[in-house]
């Protein structure tokens, strides 16, 4: 509470216009900046820049994206060329984390597994984001029967726990015996179709609040169409919580992909996935724990980075949480 007050006090202090003097005087270019009230997002950015946790998470996310895009930059080994003579081989210069039960390079497998995890995570987050935004904004803006319909659909989707519905759906897809691409698309669509509800709810309620604001009425009176009002006036105000939810959802989608692959109904063995690696390594962990620890660390760090990123952004945008 006390730190909240002190933050508020400093905000007040910096927001008060500087002492008398020409605002545009040459030599004092910063006076204008001080006297100008900062926008909420600029404020949040100032807050974010100071947080080391934010930068750590950002660096991990960037690194993981780089690994996913160019896995060959990080390892010269091929994760699919395994030799049983290397079975459970100890770490060496060639394979820094040794070999697994099939004689595959543990590190290379985890590096190449990054791509599928991120593909599913970002794909599902994108789908969930688009669905959540479209349905949330229109339900909040138009109200009446459309709002009722969307709200009931949200209730129904919330009645299906993500993993359980994912299991039934993925069971159906893997029974049908599709290829890797079909499984990837199925994973993205099922996680996206089940994961949009929180985003839609948040957007809907903030649209309902924003709809009654004076600036929206003003825009309407100036003749702006529904589309323009939603896109230019209402959406920017609901964007911050939306970004936070989608970032955190991305982390949970990556975890869900690993879980489904772990249970044997996600990606299948010729594909590289952390979930598959963890599942196979588990049976042999008494013999060699590294094949279990390495993909676990990759998965935990990736999910953690997205969760921390979302969390720090939320704290920056919500002064009550500071």
């Amino acid at each position: 509470m006390s730190d909240f007050e002190s933050v508020a006090a400093t905000e007040l202090h910096t927001a008060t216009p500087g002492p008398a003097g020409a605002p545009n005087a040459p030599g004092q270019p910063h006076t204008l900046e001080v006297s100008k009230p900062r926008s909420a997002s600029a404020d949040a950015w100032r807050e974010l820049r100071r947080r080391p946790l934010f930068w750590v998470a950002l660096v991990i996310v960037a690194l993981v994206l780089l690994i996913a895009a160019f896995p060959s930059l990080f390892t010269s080994a091929d994760p699919t060329s395994c030799s049983l003579s290397n079975r459970m081989g100890a770490p060496s210069g060639a394979a820094i984390f040794g070999y697994d039960v099939q004689g595959c390079d543990v590190f290379a497998k985890s590096i190449y597994g990054t791509k599928n995890s991120l593909l599913v995570g970002t794909g599902a987050a994108l789908l969930a984001g688009i669905l959540g935004m479209l349905l949330g904004v229109t339900a909040g803006y138009f109200g009446s029967w459309w709002d009722v319909t969307v709200s009931r659909i949200i209730d129904i989707v919330l009645g299906l726990p993500l993993l359980l519905a994912g299991i039934v759906f993925m069971k159906r897809v893997t029974n049908a015996g599709g290829g890797q691409t079909a499984i990837l698309i199925a994973l993205i669509s099922i996680l996206g179709l089940l994961g949009w509800t929180t985003a839609a709810r948040v957007i809907r309620s903030s649209v309902i609040t924003a709809k009654q604001q004076d600036y929206v009425h003003a825009a309407k009176m100036l003749g702006a169409g529904s589309g323009r009002i939603m896109w230019r006036h209402i959406l920017p105000n609901s964007l911050a919580p939306f970004i936070v939810i989608i970032t955190m959802a991305l982390g949970s989608f990556i975890a869900a992909e690993a879980t489904l692959s772990f249970l044997g109904i996600g990606l299948r063995p010729p594909a590289q996935s952390w979930g598959i690696d963890i599942s196979t390594a588990r049976a042999y962990m008494r013999e060699n724990a590294l094949p279990l620890i390495v993909p676990s660390t990759f998965l935990a760090l990736t999910v953690l980075a997205f969760v921390i990123l979302g969390d720090t952004i939320r704290e920056a945008f919500d002064p009550k949480l500071r």
Partner: protein, 308 residues
């Protein structure tokens, strides 16, 4: 209140019908031939096929089959597995074990999550507060597919504190580690929720009134703050039941605990579609009922909430 009850109940029925419809249509469109799956590798003659199709009602139209599935569900008949065992029997054996596990998980959540949340909420900004915040962030970020195998490795193989796997009829001691792993998934969220609502309630007018009346601090916290802070936590625990069940699939199969999640994972591994669908339907119903109970508890806990 009565009107709200009726409305909420009707809403639950609608959600129930829709979710079972989704689950059933997914099963209906499942690729593969159920009769061939039943026969395994053996060839099926036309006569046998026709007979089995009749027995299992596979010749009926979709809506009729869905209706049969729904009425069977309501009669607590969840079908039989591919090996011919009634799923109800499996559930009767597995439920008590999962409930034991869930009980440990919830106790862990309350003891660690809520207690830490209350302390952190009272002493906001202290070292304890900041340390637990960072710690909870770590726990939130680690999915159960990582936490369960790693803790199994660390606490049962590296340091032999707990048994590695549970037996067919697990004791409380065998269930302790899986229960803690399962509970730790919700500890973090419980702690954050408690912290936020305690520190918000501490600033509320009724707390200031109680203080100025000269009420001792312990009583203010225990009666005025805690009771009101409990409300979001109760909802959270109800909603968390869904992810608890999902987490139980991984935790139980890792620790070999013969609960519902273990049976579900086994059904997935042995390609036993009826078993998977049966268990998922039951879990979805449990989830819906838990949410309903939570919504009703809401009104009991918070006198300000009176539904029209």
């Amino acid at each position: 209140m009565f009107r709200y009850l009726v409305r909420r109940f009707l809403q639950m029925i609608m959600v129930f019908i829709a979710t079972t419809f989704i689950v059933y249509s997914l099963m209906y469109w499942t690729g593969g031939d159920p009769i061939q799956a039943l026969a395994g590798e053996k060839p099926v003659s036309d006569l046998q096929r026709a007979q089995l199709t009749r027995i299992y009602g596979l010749d009926q139209p979709f809506y009729e089959r869905y209706w049969n599935y729904l009425t069977d569900l309501l009669h607590l008949d969840f079908g039989t597995t591919l090996t011919g065992r009634p799923i109800k029997d499996i559930l009767v054996d597995a439920w008590p074990i999962t409930m034991q596990l869930a009980l440990i998980a919830i106790v862990v959540t309350i003891v660690f999550g809520v207690t830490a949340g209350v302390i952190a909420g009272i002493r906001r900004g202290s070292i304890f507060d900041n340390a637990t915040l960072v710690l909870t962030l770590l726990v939130i970020g680690i999915p159960s597919v990582v936490l369960a195998p790693l803790s199994q490795y660390l606490f049962t193989i590296q340091w032999k504190i707990f048994p590695t796997t549970a037996s067919g009829n697990p004791t409380w001691y065998e269930l302790l580690l899986p229960g803690i792993v399962l509970g730790s998934l919700s500890v973090a969220t419980a702690m954050r929720l408690t912290r936020a609502s305690v520190s918000e309630n501490l600033r509320a007018d009724f707390v200031r009134t109680a203080r100025s009346k000269g009420m001792p601090g312990r009583r203010v916290i225990g009666i005025h703050v805690l009771r009101n802070s409990l409300i979001p936590i109760v909802t959270f625990l109800g909603v968390e039941l869904g992810s608890l069940m999902a987490g139980a699939i991984v935790t139980e199969s890792v620790f070999n605990v013969p609960g519902v999640g273990f049976q579900l994972a086994r059904g997935l591994k042995t390609e036993d579609t009826p078993l998977v669908i049966g268990i998922v339907s039951v879990l979805v119903i449990v989830f819906l009922v838990a949410n309903l109970i939570v919504d009703l508890l809401y009104a009991v806990l918070d006198p300000r909430i009176r539904y029209e």
